[in-house]
Symmetry: C2
């Protein structure tokens, strides 16, 4: 077994050696991986069965949750097929590299191009779901990055054989087989986090504590995917039907997702108008409501009383900083739009927040004032998703605000470099420019890749 | 005096409260700051004189370098005037916020916009030169970020009064006066580095050890500006005149700059053709050459011998990983272009590297294969600079490869948020989409700011 340093070094070498490999060859590599996975299906599912058997013992002993067990199962529903289809889908996406975002003629015959290119070596750390190995490998290959992958220990056997299939697919391509490597232990992760000379970006996908723990233990940049504490705000001018639909969907469409809503903020003027209908709809949908005094008494004063009124109860202060991830919703009444914006900025995780309003000016104030990756108007927070946004794929949803924010597509796995090309007879030198000498032109030129 | 936490919180509040302030009002604030600096000129230069006097004592005692002292002086040459002009220049740059980079109709009446916006609170740590306070304050205000600034302790008195002038300018604007704050001590920096709930980006401008020390002590993202270990590679097809001009300019135009060249890589086939002329030109320019055996004996075999031949000496291995920052150049001979690319990837700081070649294919291999922020063809590495690239300003030169790479303009101080707007009769909810239900359209729409 290789040491962490050997693994990291091999990844860096694989990355550097792959820089001249064309986009078409990277697509071919993805097709080889697809075939390798297909022909290893029996062995992969057998390894997955072993992981599942071990996990069942943990569940029976009360040491693992049933939902974690379910996420392990590669043979459930159409998971296997959609994992394989995902590789082909990523292969067909537009190449995110080689895109020119800035092109200027600095002087006659001196052309500057800013061209998108891969970041380098990615270290991706994720939890339970083993199909993420295949998903991330495809994204890394498509964007020209090499990757080191660490899955949850519950899926070690599955992850290992998936990684072997990926390597065997790579060996039939022009990419080095060390382009994608899988590691098994936390100790290896710790060692890798120290190797910033080889690893360029860490992508942890999991709990807040996983992300923070990694941020505390590395100087490598981290693109974290952590909490989603989303909210919906019902403005004084809210339409009642929109309010019901947006709030109920934001809470109940898929409560375990990070883009589900955890907090409902009410303008106090809607307590007797919109809130009763919204509250009734939520209670009918069996949502547990953790209410501030004003919203609770408004519900309790209704006649006839709402069904499931007992699902409404007083909120503790912690309710407003809790990611419930189930059919629970915290409710807060505030006197104004600006108080709502301040409250959301102080309590949300800056993921996605939505306003229900008929006022264009309130919408503008909310969308500009709320400091979140997504600010929505009359739309469910559940739309915050790379596929729904049209990226064709999703690396994750970044809770950071550097490099990539919100749902991240392939664009989040590239950076750029500046290519400067002199075509003059004697090359270009800096000392010929300056006061009393040549001046820079900075003329826009056509944005095509120079090489 | 405020605690670090109070300072950080005030910066965050100032940032959030400023989100509805228009671009025109930010420009007005810059003009107020310009006026405040102008009317405080006497006091500022008096404070600067005190810093200079204290620094002179340090220089006389051998505890500070003469060059550091020079950089402290605000009254030297046109430094004062250009500092003030810089504020007006930044004010006139295009607003980097509110730019739509992605706009799609997801469904009839459901529009998604990705809009550039400020990052949040910046913590900027820099060394000696006090005019950086004004420069960074202007960049932060223009891009809508609030900032906490820490200068070198040698310039504490100057920094403090510059910061007061900035606050007094802000107090005449609609921006909060706590929008820009200056701190004086390292202890405050340490405390601030722990406050990732308030501070969004740390920008250290200084030595490698400063940058690494900060990266080791915070989980806030760091945009580092550190070493420049640039190189020029002379390819087998190099034109002799271009080689001389590019190498001499890259080394001698401003040896103390990070974009100066520290290493010259020679294709072995140029040892008897191009290298003698380049070597002679470098020795004539009094450049000390740290040579590998092949390049050294090629020079020593020349007849007549080059002037200053004694400036050429054998290189130690460390020469190739040293940022000389003076008239010293390490020289390495290699057998091929691909060996040169590998050598540069292993030894350079991934800042800027240039090839001298007449071959389009060698240029393409070099520009794609060298993993640096700038890959140049027949042009001096000294062109790697935000002003020369046409950004109108420079935040610094980032040696990272996340978010912003290479010379960073105002674009490096913004990120984006997604604004989603439903204009349908009953709002938009996610559960209406999916297999057998509505499908997303993802049609391109005109990229204008929705609010």
């Amino acid at each position: 077994m290789s040491s962490a340093e050997e693994i990291a070094k091999a990844a860096k070498v694989a990355f550097e050696d792959s820089q001249l490999i064309s986009s078409a060859e990277r697509v071919a590599a993805l097709n080889h991986i697809h075939q390798a996975l297909q022909s290893n299906k029996t062995d992969i599912l057998a390894a997955n069965k072993e992981d599942l058997k071990a996990a069942q013992i943990e569940v029976d002993a009360g040491r693992m949750s049933e939902s974690l067990l379910k996420r392990l199962d590669l043979d459930k529903g159409d998971k296997w097929d959609s994992m394989l289809q995902g590789v082909l889908n990523v292969a067909e996406l537009p190449d995110p590299t080689g895109i020119v975002s800035y092109a200027k003629e600095l002087d006659d015959g001196l052309e500057l191009y800013r061209v998108s290119c891969p970041i380098g070596v990615l270290l991706v750390i994720f939890e339970a779901r083993p199909e993420v190995v295949v998903n991330i490998a495809a994204l890394a290959i498509k964007s020209g990055n090499s990757a080191i992958l660490k899955g949850g220990k519950e899926s070690n056997k599955t992850t290992q054989i998936l990684a072997q299939s990926i390597s065997s697919g790579l060996s039939r391509s022009s990419l080095p087989s060390s382009y994608i490597q899988a590691i098994q232990t936390r100790a290896e992760v710790s060692s890798l986090l120290a190797l910033d000379q080889y690893i360029d970006l860490v992508i942890p996908r999991g709990s807040n504590s996983l992300v923070q723990n990694i941020q505390n233990n590395t100087r490598i940049p981290v693109m974290g995917h952590a909490d989603g504490l989303c909210s919906v705000y019902i403005d004084e001018s809210a339409d009642i039907e929109k309010a019901i639909r947006v709030v109920v969907d934001s809470k109940t469409d898929y409560p375990a997702a990070c883009n589900s809503t955890e907090t409902l903020v009410l303008h106090e003027s809607v307590l007797q108008s919109v809130w009763p209908a919204v509250g009734r709809a939520l209670l009918t949908a069996q949502v547990r409501l953790l209410c501030d005094p004003a919203s609770l008494s408004a519900l309790q004063a209704l006649s006839p009383p709402p069904s499931n009124l007992s699902f409404a109860e007083p909120a503790t202060p912690e309710a407003y900083t809790t990611e419930h991830l189930n059919l629970t919703l915290s409710v807060m009444t505030l006197p104004s739009l600006s108080a709502a914006v301040r409250f959301i900025n102080a309590h949300s995780s800056h993921h996605t927040d939505s306003i229900v309003t008929e006022s264009q000016s309130a919408a503008a104030t909310f969308c500009r004032g709320v400091d979140s990756a997504g600010t929505f108007v009359n739309a469910s927070t559940r739309f915050a998703d790379g596929f729904r946004y049209g990226f064709g794929t999703e690396v994750g949803i970044s809770t950071g605000r550097i490099h990539a924010r919100g749902p991240v597509g392939l664009e989040g796995l590239v950076i750029y470099k500046y290519m400067l090309r002199s075509m003059s007879k004697s090359g270009h030198i800096a000392s010929e420019f300056g006061s009393g000498k040549k001046q820079f032109k900075h003329t826009d030129i056509v944005k095509t890749v120079p090489f």
